[in-house]
């Protein structure tokens, strides 16, 4: 058999065709995905442009929300995302570590895992109701940043736990066994081998929840976000405005709002989320520098 009989065989030709068709389809689908994203962004920029200015970012709403800016809402969203993440990230990551690294594979663990998967699918309005019942009323935290953030934390926890578990499970079991036979304790193994090799996956899960916490309206609407507040929150016991809520207000609740304001608000919301994500990604890259696979 000579070399050319390989190159010209019908099989090879078919394979090559499948390969190129496959590549085209995948590239096309990717392009289709980017299209609506850029379209949304473009629309927001074009429609929101008339309202966009430095004052819009740095001033409070004025004239019954038909003028002025969104500064208190930006501050409020940062409070809500910050406090909720300060609770849900450590708790979620620790729970994920426990479930993946320590918990025995018995029926209790299976029930807990099942509960987490199902909790991740609970609609946010149900979390809102839970937040009102537990944090606002039962624990007496009132409508406050704390209540709203805890409600957001409860909402984001299941996904953070699940993605932490997934990232940990991707670290080969053989690494752990090698560490254990070398006399490393379970925690040393987690701390020095498992976590450094899964931290970027864990943080990806957390980052995704930043967008979710910043974007949801229902969970904060009855627990701590206000339609309009003339002052900035001084502590977690205060209420606050929030971008998502403000967007809802100016687009549906208040008459005679100039069309540009909701679009500009949406653009600011998107930018805040992107900015927080960028920060998190920078942090992740910083951590990954030390990673040696």
């Amino acid at each position: 058999m000579n070399a050319s009989s390989f190159a010209t065989s019908a099989r090879t030709a078919t394979n090559r065709r499948v390969e190129s068709v496959g590549k085209t389809v995948l590239a096309g689908v990717t392009a289709l995905l980017i299209l609506p994203l850029t379209a949304i962004l473009g629309l927001l920029v074009i429609r929101g442009a008339p309202a966009l200015s430095l004052e819009f970012l740095l001033e409070a709403p004025a004239a019954g929300m038909t003028a002025g800016g969104v500064f208190p809402a930006i501050v409020g969203t940062l409070w809500l995302v910050g406090v909720s993440l300060a609770v849900s990230a450590p708790v979620g990551i620790m729970a994920g570590i426990y479930l993946n690294e320590y918990a025995r594979a018995n029926w209790i663990t299976r029930m807990v895992n099942l509960a987490i998967v199902n909790l991740a699918g609970v609609p946010s309005i149900v979390h809102a109701l839970f937040g009102v019942g537990v944090f606002v009323l039962f624990l007496g935290l009132g409508t406050s940043i704390l209540s709203a953030s805890l409600t957001l934390a409860i909402m984001t926890l299941p996904v953070i736990i699940a993605s932490t578990k997934e990232a940990l499970a991707a670290v080969p079991m053989a690494f752990r066994e090698a560490c254990w036979t070398l006399g490393a304790t379970r925690w040393q193994t987690i701390r020095h081998v498992v976590l450094p090799n899964s931290i970027s996956g864990i943080l990806t899960g957390v980052i995704l929840q930043v967008s979710r916490a910043a974007g949801e309206t229902a969970p904060i609407m009855f627990t701590g976000a206000a339609f309009y507040l003339p002052f900035l929150p001084q502590s977690v016991q205060d209420q606050c405005m929030a971008l998502s809520m403000h967007l809802f207000t100016v687009s549906t609740q208040v008459p005679n709002v100039p069309e540009a304001i909701p679009y500009a608000t949406a653009l600011v919301l998107l930018s805040v989320v992107l900015l927080v994500n960028l920060l998190a990604i920078a942090f992740r890259t910083y951590l990954r520098r030390n990673r040696k696979w």
Partner: protein, 254 residues
Amino acid sequence: MVNASPMIEVEELSVSYAGKPALDQVTLDVRRNEILAVIGPANSGKTTLLNCINRMIETIPAASVSGTVKVDGHDVAEYRDPSMLRRRIGMVFPLPVGLPMTVYENVAFAPRMAGERDRTVLDESVERCLKQSALWDEVKDRLDDLGTRLSGGQQQRLTIARALSLNPEILCLDEFSIAVDPVTTMKIEEVLKELNKDMTIVMVTNLVLQAKRMADRTALLLNGKLVEVGDNEVIFSRQAADARTFQYVQGLFG
């Protein structure tokens, strides 16, 4: 005075995985400073036996164990923290598992976890272990490379260096030559002979000739049962007590 008591005493050890027996009433001693080879066909329980010595067996949820294993006269079950036991026993797996870190960090890992911080002590330990495992000359300029960048044979010697890093009294090897070229195998065998001067070695091997070459005594496992353990001169001759031993070492079944 020379301590004549056995280094490892295995007494009526039985292991089953989810009810399926893997070891059945195995009783055997490993003498101080000997090389004991454990041979037997696949699935006869050789790896399970090693896992009982350093209690790695308890990391397998399905496994249940009865019987006792004593190391240096102490029941391994008495260790409240199994990592204290594992620090006394070096373990080498069939396929080298390089930890995702540099060559240096791989060998310094165990001492670090045991609390060693002094950089010069670590440097010395890394150099000693890499020399003992006949790897130093090949990697002394690559200590900061990833361990996983080394060749297969080098990685296996790296795992041996790592296993030596806590000066263990016992070294267990599980079919170490399965993914290693013949030249590296010979190198490692020389290394083991050298180490054996002050270390007890338990060597699971699928190569009957390797057991014959290397070991002082050899044990044959078959379907989880110990067929026979004895001096190599006996096991590899017609004087073997059990007919199956003779058949197995002659390659008549397996």
